[in-house]
Subunit: 270 residues, 2 copies
C-alpha cells in the first residue's frame, strides 16, 4: 500500500487507529480454546468486529513465535485473511528485525513479499546496510525503531551523541538512506513531549505510536505534538482493545473500545 492510499483510508474512516493483534492464549476467552486454531479464531472475530473503526492491524511476531509452528500458521492465516477480505487495511508485522545486508533481505522478503505485509518494524542498531534491504521493496514501508515506549528507551536512545540524542541521530541519519521515502518511525506515546522535536527532523514521515492506553500514553498529547498536514500518525492500541472482555462478547467489547478511540480521533481530525 502506498502512503497516499493510507492517508485516503484515514480520511475516509476518520481514524488513524492501529489495533495490535498480540494474542496470548492465557488471555483470550475460554470457549475459543476448543477451536482448531484459537489464535486465528480470536483474530478473525476481532478483525470482523473492528475493521471499520481502524486503518491498520499490527501482529507482534513474538506472540506467534511463542507457539512455534502453530503460531506461524496462525500468523499466516491472519495476514491472508486480512489481505483477502479487507485489502484496504494497512498491515504491520511488528517483528523488530535487523541483520547484515543479505540476511536482512531474507527477513524483508519473508514479511513483505511472502507473507504480504505492507510494512515491518526494524531495529536501527546495525545501521544503514541492515535497513536498506527492507527499503528496497516498492509500495512497502519500513518502520524504524526511534524512541520506544518502554523505560529502557532511556538507557541508550536518549543519550547524547555529538549534541544530538541517539534517537534523533537515527532519524537524521536514516533520511539519507536509499529509498528513505519508504521509512516510518516508532515513537512511543509515553514520550509525547518529545514529538515536537521529532517533527522538526522528520516533518512528513508517518509515526507508529504505541503505548496509548495500557502503557499510559495520552491520545490528545500525541496529536497535539505529532500530527502533521497529512495526519502522519498511526496510533496503536493492543491490550486495551482486544482484551476488553474475556467473555463471549469479547469482539463486541473490542469494537466498543475501538469506537471510543475512533471518535476521539475523528475529533482530532475535524
Amino acid at each position: 500500500m502506498t502512503t497516499t492510499e493510507l492517508i485516503t483510508q484515514i480520511k475516509k474512516k476518520k481514524s488513524f487507529l492501529c489495533i495490535g493483534l498480540d494474542v496470548d492464549l492465557n488471555k483470550i476467552p475460554n470457549h475459543l480454546l476448543q477451536e482448531d486454531d484459537p489464535i486465528f479464531a480470536f483474530n478473525k472475530a476481532i478483525i470482523d468486529a473492528t475493521h471499520q473503526l481502524c486503518v491498520a492491524y499490527k501482529p507482534n511476531t513474538a506472540f506467534y513465535e511463542a507457539y512455534g509452528i502453530k503460531g506461524w500458521q496462525a500468523l499466516e492465516k491472519t495476514i491472508n485473511y486480512l489481505n483477502k477480505n479487507y485489502p484496504e487495511i494497512y498491515t504491520i508485522a511488528d517483528a523488530k528485525r535487523g541483520d547484515i545486508g543479505n540476511t536482512s533481505t531474507m527477513y524483508a522478503k519473508a514479511f513483505l513479499e511472502d507473507l504480504g505485509f505492507d510494512s515491518v518494524t526494524v531495529a536501527p542498531y546495525m545501521g544503514k546496510d541492515s535497513v536498506e534491504p527492507f527499503l528496497a521493496f516498492k509500495d512497502k514501508h519500513t518502520i524504524l525503531l526511534a524512541l520506544t515506549s518502554n523505560q529502557g528507551a532511556f538507557d541508550f536512545q536518549t543519550k547524547t551523541i555529538d549534541g544530538l540524542e541517539l534517537y534523533k541521530q537515527v532519524l537524521e541519519t536514516s533520511k539519507s538512506w536509499k529509498n528513505s521515502e519508504n521509512l516510518m518511525y516508532v515513537v512511543g506515546a509515553t514520550k509525547a513531549e518529545f514529538l515536537g522535536d521529532i517533527r522538526k527532523i522528520i516533518p512528513d514521515s508517518f509515526l507508529l505510536v504505541p503505548g496509548v492506553g495500557a502503557q499510559g500514553g495520552n491520545l490528545q498529547d500525541v496529536c497535539k505534538y505529532g500530527m502533521n498536514d497529512t495526519v502522519g500518525l498511526l496510533i496503536n492500541s493492543s491490550r486495551g482493545i482486544i482484551y476488553a472482555s474475556t467473555e463471549e462478547d469479547f469482539a463486541e467489547a473490542a469494537a466498543k473500545k475501538a469506537k471510543e478511540l475512533q471518535l476521539q480521533m475523528a475529533l482530532e481530525l475535524s
Copy 2:
C-alpha cells in the same frame, strides 16, 4: 549449558569454532532438493560431518523464516537433532530479537525453553527491560549485539556518547543488569583491533565473533586481542564452511574447512 561446561568442551576439542547454519536453498547441492526437507537434510549431513571439530552451531533464524512454516519445521528438527544426538554441543539461535518486557519474555521462552537453544542473540537498542527477560533463564546465555561485523556498525555503534562509543556504553551499562553473568557479546572479527579496548570493559565475558572468512576477519588477530584466561571466544564461520562444495561431497568438504580452522585454533590454545 553453563559457561563452565562450554569451556570444558573447548579444551577437550581444542576448538572454539561455531558453525553458522545459514541454509539457502539456492546454494545447497542440487541432489538434496529431492529430499522431503532439504534444509534439515543439509544441516544433518553438515552436523554429522563436523560436530567433533566445533563446539557450537548457530542457525540464523532469517534463513528459516524465509521459508515460512517449512523453514520453522526445519529449524525445529535441527535443534532437536542437535539436543538429542550431540548434547555436548552449544547452540545459538541467531535471532537478534528484542522488544518491551513482556514481549521479550515470549521471545526468550520460544528460543530458550520451547526450542531448547542454549542461547539467543539480542539487539540492545531498547535497553535494560528489553534484555533482562532473556537473562532470567538459568544456564542459558543472552548474546548481546555490541560491535557488529558490517559497515553499518559505524553509523551508530561507534559514535561517541559522553566520551564513550555507543558499543562500549552497551558493554558497560549491561554489566549492571540483573543476571548479567548470563551475558555474552557479539563483536565482529572485521573489527579485531577494537578487541583490546573491549576486553578492558568485559575481561571475562565470552564473545561471539562473526566475520572470519567470507567477511574478511582474521583468526589470529581476533585471538591476539580477544582471548582471555578461559578462552572467552566463539568464532563463527558460516559460508566458508557449509558451502565449501556444492557437489555430493559437500559434507566432507565442510569438514575439511572446519578442520583447517580447528587446527589453527588448537595452535592458539597451545
